[in-house]
Symmetry: C2
Subunit: 340 residues, 2 copies
């Protein structure tokens, strides 16, 4: 029986070999009942068609799952292109899966691993509390890419920038230019991922410059509007402007949010940077073409994406290496900030 052929299966089922072939290859033209009968026999006799056997070994496992929190993030989009290219060089395709911001990474990953026989997973965005525990039990190689993790993570491979540090640099820069009343448009109130980390950097920089933290200058993104969008930035900025609080600069923790803030400032009849200096974060392509062009902190997306794929390949190969790769972001000074 080890040499059971397609002819044997056809004989058992009482059909022609082409019909068996169509059943196996999932040809839509075949009668569903016939197909099911054939597939039952195929399974019963553990028959593996040659190309399926080859697929099982060579290609079925050649997919990498990319699990994303925030698929509408322009910044992630540019990274997908690099993933696609770099994974392609290694003979992998990638399967994209979006997670809702409140979904648990490990649970979604578990489902995906069941569903597809994946070779590895890239997690993007959001925050994962205890990846060493929750993700390790998946028993599949993975890399966290721009995911906020705790400092005590040891076993999980991760690639990111230091959000707290880069955020500090922005606010430090504004302080050095003489700004003392600096508003921030940060993530949602319960955002302990990049939103939380960037807010931490803001607070530390203010403290280092002897400026008291003022909760009235902190605008949290709205829960009922997709976060990190122009619409959310517009709405929060409008509230800050209408609050009557006095400030000379606003730091929006994402470029698209800054884009929305521009609109609110313009509608209020105010000018950038004359009335309000604005800084963004991420360095998406659009920022160069905003009016005025936006000063921002650019994430090294190409480095991040390439390092993620490289680290994942090492995880798959079981190579022992540095688990935590942290890149510097690049501060780009443009025309949206003035000296006080």
């Amino acid at each position: 029986m080890a040499n059971l052929t397609i002819k044997d299966i056809a004989k058992i089922c009482g059909v022609g070999t082409s019909t068996v072939s169509r059943a196996i290859n999932d040809d839509p033209g075949i009668n569903p009942a016939t197909k099911e009968r054939i597939l039952r026999v195929v399974e019963e006799f553990h028959y593996v068609p040659n190309n399926a056997a080859r697929n099982l070994k060579l290609t079925e496992n050649n997919a990498i799952g990319v699990l994303v929190k925030g698929l509408n993030n322009q910044f992630f989009l540019s990274m997908f292109r690099i993933f696609e290219e770099e994974l392609g060089k290694q003979g992998y395709t990638f399967v994209l899966k979006e997670m809702a911001s409140d979904q648990d990474e490990a649970t979604v990953a578990e489902e995906l691993v069941k569903e597809k026989r994946l070779k590895g997973i890239i997690f993007m965005g959001g925050k994962i509390e205890n990846p060493d525990v929750t993700l390790k039990r998946l028993d599949i190689p993975y890399v966290l890419c721009t995911v906020a993790v705790n400092a005590n993570v040891r076993e999980s491979a991760s690639v990111s920038i230091d959000d707290e540090k880069e955020s500090y640099r922005i606010v430090d820069y504004l302080c050095k230019l003489g700004h003392k009343r600096i508003a921030i448009i940060t993530g949602r109130k319960n955002d302990y991922a990049v939103g939380g980390l960037r807010l931490d950097g803001y607070k530390r920089a203010l403290a280092d410059h002897g400026i008291a933290y003022d909760a009235n200058l902190v605008g949290y993104m709205k829960d009922d509007i997709p976060d990190f969008t122009a619409k959310n930035g517009y709405t929060v900025m409008k509230e800050l402007l209408e609050s009557g609080e006095d400030f000379t600069a606003v730091y929006a923790i994402s470029d698209l949010t800054a884009f929305g803030a521009y609109k609110a400032i313009s509608e209020a009849g105010k000018k950038i940077p004359d009335d309000y200096s604005v800084v963004g974060f991420d360095g998406i392509d659009l920022t160069e073409y905003m009016t005025p062009s936006l000063t921002t902190m650019a994430q090294p997306k190409e480095d991040l994406a390439k390092a993620t794929v490289q680290l994942l390949m090492q995880e798959i190969d079981g190579v022992e290496t540095e688990k935590k790769v942290v890149y510097d972001a690049a501060f780009i000074e443009r025309d949206s900030v003035r000296k006080i």
Copy 2:
């Protein structure tokens, strides 16, 4: 042999069953030589582990390939989310693959079909000359989504708007407001896909209003800059402005291109809509937050994406239905256009 078990394989290989399991499940912890030896035996004896047999039948084919020309297109991005959701409801995952703008769809699809045992393909963007011939021979269900096709396509399922007609509406609107010198920022010179179709609509509207077509008012996107980007729109608009040609309106055939045009107009010290009226195309979220907000032709992305998935399911099931679904776009009047 039909009942060959994992124990039999372990015995033949002289290893424990857990090692066989690790080899089959591609566990990174296993010695590569051992793994290869086990897999050779697995293949030789046509052994199919239970769950692999199940996967073969139930899940291996549960992937839909999405082949995209123009992955950086914001408009496509919003559709991926809907694909992901709608395909998920049907129990499918999706595999994303980008094509270079000069790659042949059928060739890329052929490779992808070989690589993964896909159940269907969604083609997005670009233009496909003879899908009835080139794609039908792939022998896999597929749908063309926002792909430019010839009118004589009969056998290929497709979902799109009527680019020529909607483009006509934009230029007709500008003419009715009194604009006679209307520039266009269109696709690359060799773009016979949406670029060509939208340029056709522009020409027809001018003709219907008795306005002579002036090649000096046609700005083609640059070949050396990614097309449909802000940078390309900025560069082309700058040239139009510096050409000394007289015009009162510019129609950019994508919103991001219009975004770049805004920048060039602002740098030239001119105002929108006072000096130049601007219209975009696609209706991406950003346009609402541009200053002034951009008048644009919004594609019904949710309808397009849902219809694409629905049509693909029908193709997979072999249901005979309408092959060509065409949606109307929605013209959104905002603040970037004035009456002459």
